[in-house]
């Protein structure tokens, strides 16, 4: 059975997504259980795949028996297996967290919610696992469609934001498809490994520049890189808590993964791909500061976190485009850390909004007493975002800084330090209001139900554990996820 794990990673959540709406009509807890079991199965599968890939190297799985370049091929290498593990392990807490939030909904709606959630997980897993460029487009659309529907469950303002996201997301997908079209026009193949083999023919044709441009812009929009991030703040702000907790943590990262996979692993950062990386570098440098500055200006905490996400996404892209091994390690580690941190932050904030309905900074007075555990989880995750030593954020910032120093890129160093100072300010504002400002009336304690608290507490402890054991993660896993034999930037 384990020989078919790559396919099962995608089929299991798909089957669950099909079963859950029917089961939910009969009994909602059973549907929730099935959903969580399927995601648990995917976590197990991804773990197995990671272990096997670390031992035996890249795992090629031809779907339907058709050998590439004709058939669609699933390729799992340490990077893909790691991302699959990250996606599924961030989906489990979000699913558990969704329990009380959807308790008030009708059985049909609950079934639809879980089914869409599992479709989203399927889409993201598919994007990470596939080795075919067009198949990546299909899974990109599956995950986006599921995300649009999920985000729209958050009330009328969410519907407006989601419609705008749908338009911009479709533009991005269309650009990506055009890029794929041009690549297919030049090389006649859609398989990633085949594309790399035919790199020589790619260089000669001028269409290659257009192809890379379309690919890069399309995925940059989905990854919310600064000039193209307009859709993100509204979407993360009005999304329901479990959805924003999961999407904020993982969705944009999968697009960054796709950028990394295409520009670096497939096109070996040669020719136009190298120049694209250079342009992304300058966009990321601006975006890191812009994200932090915009976050500073917000009063609504969810919007602040959304802009902080834009900044952190740019930090990851900066790490990738810097090119030195340490920077890449930092980027991958930051993908992992940021997913856990941001997931915990959004779950905590969603919990506060679900319980008290207020998410403005001014309403957070004395929140430390009112919801102690939630704010504690928020505090630990905020400390990690700032980069205080024992937490995970510190170490990914460390590798990024080392990478920037190795690349002698003083602007990147300046921007990284500047953004962490800014994040220090806008995160500490919240902690000061929540813990140290005396509430007028003595606030009574209204903590969240256990099903919402456990995911947060687990994520918060994970943030610290990731920090202390990051050495194991880096040396055992991330080291092998780096692209070999590719050197950039070519200034």
């Amino acid at each position: 059975m384990t020989a078919h794990v790559p396919a099962l990673l995608v089929v299991l959540p798909l089957l669950a997504a099909v079963l859950v709406p029917l089961l939910a009509l009969r009994s909602v807890p059973l549907a929730q259980l099935i959903a969580m079991l399927s995601v648990g199965g995917v976590i197990l599968g991804a773990g197995l795949a990671l272990r096997r890939v670390l031992i035996h190297g890249t795992w090629h799985y031809a779907l339907g028996g058709w050998a590439p370049p004709w058939g669609i091929e699933y390729v799992i290498d340490p990077l893909a297996a790691g991302m699959a593990l990250l996606i599924s392990s961030m989906a489990l807490p979000a699913l558990l967290y969704a329990g009380p939030v959807v308790a008030a909904w009708s059985a049909g709606q609950v079934g639809a919610f879980y089914s869409l959630f599992l479709l989203l997980v399927t889409g993201l897993l598919g994007m990470v696992v596939t080795g075919d460029v067009f198949n990546l487009y299909v899974f990109l659309e599956i995950s986006s469609l599921a995300a649009y529907a999920l985000l729209a469950t958050g009330g009328i303002r969410a519907v407006v934001a989601t419609f705008r996201y749908l338009l911009i997301g479709t533009i991005a997908a269309t650009f990506y498809l055009l890029g794929v079209g041009y690549l297919y026009a030049i090389t006649g193949t859609l398989n990633m490994a085949d594309l790399t083999a035919q790199l020589a023919t790619l260089h000669t044709s001028s269409a290659f520049v257009v192809a890379v441009a379309f690919l890069a812009i399309g995925l940059a929009i989905k990854a919310a890189l600064f000039p193209l991030h307009a859709w993100l703040p509204d979407v993360y702000t009005y999304a329901p808590a479990p959805v924003s907790g999961f999407i904020a943590a993982v969705m944009a990262k999968v697009s960054v993964y796709a950028l990394l996979r295409l520009l670096v692993f497939v096109l070996r950062a040669e020719g136009a791909a190298g120049q694209a990386l250079l342009l992304l570098h300058w966009a990321a440098v601006v975006a890191v500061l812009a994200g932090a500055l915009l976050a500073l200006a917000q009063q609504d905490l969810r919007r602040m976190l959304a802009y902080s996400s834009v900044g952190q996404m740019a930090t990851i892209v900066l790490g990738i485009t810097l090119g030195t091994p340490a920077a890449l390690l930092g980027a991958l580690l930051h993908m992992l850390n940021h997913a856990v941190m941001k997931g915990c932050l959004f779950l905590a904030l969603g919990g506060v909004q679900w319980r008290t309905g207020q998410v403005q900074l001014a309403d957070f007075v004395g929140m430390g007493q009112r919801m102690p555990l939630t704010m504690a989880a928020f505090g630990v995750a905020a400390a990690s975002m700032i980069g205080l030593p024992p937490t995970a954020g510190f170490f990914s910032k460390w590798y990024l800084l080392t990478g920037a120093l190795e690349a002698q890129d003083w602007l990147a160093v300046l921007v990284l330090v500047g953004s962490s100072v800014l994040s220090l300010i806008y995160f500490f504002r919240v902690l000061e209001v929540a813990y140290f400002r005396q509430p007028g009336v003595q606030a009574l304690q209204r903590e969240l139900p256990w099903r919402m608290l456990t995911p947060m507490v687990v994520l918060a402890t994970l943030v610290v554990l990731l920090g202390v054991w990051n050495q194991v993660i880096v040396t055992q896993v991330l080291q092998y996820a780096l692209p070999h034999g590719v050197a950039w930037p070519r200034t």
Partner: protein, 144 residues
């Protein structure tokens, strides 16, 4: 549809055309292997007939395909698609390699039959989804 367009003329025309459209839909699905057609097109035509009946006769003439059973149809379709794929895994083939299925025919014919099973799954899924979409969009005032 709350207010059907039904009038005598439309009813008569409908009663005449619907059977042939359905037959044509099945033809399209069956011959999808070597002529233009296949799951999507067949499913769309099937759904078109159902939507036509809904528009002409309004809600009470649902052919038994009200929202819940449309959902079941769609889910069953996808389950069938994935099921055939998993079946081939049981016989040591790659996922979706339905050539290895132990059918009493040559592997080429097995491939054709396998793809036909998949096409039927797709038809069910597409028809179910389209009917669901039509009902959702036209469900005035009901909970969405």
């Amino acid at each position: 549809m709350k207010t059907p367009f039904g009038s005598l003329l439309l009813d008569a025309a409908c009663r005449l055309m619907v059977p042939f459209i359905l037959l044509f839909a099945l033809y399209v699905v069956a011959h999808g292997h070597d002529s233009p057609g296949g799951g999507f097109q067949g499913g769309t035509i099937l759904a078109a007939t159902m939507i036509l009946m809904r528009m002409v006769h309004g809600q009470e003439h649902l052919w038994g395909l009200h929202r819940l059973s449309a959902l079941r149809l769609a889910c069953a379709g996808i389950a069938l698609y994935a099921g055939i794929g998993l079946l081939s895994v049981l016989w040591q083939g790659q996922y979706l390699d339905y050539g290895v299925l132990p059918l009493p025919v040559s592997t080429a014919r097995a491939h054709a039959l396998g793809i036909l099973g998949i096409e039927i799954g797709v038809v069910m899924a597409v028809a179910g989804v389209f009917v669901l979409m039509f009902d959702a969009l036209t469900a005035w005032g009901e909970d969405d």
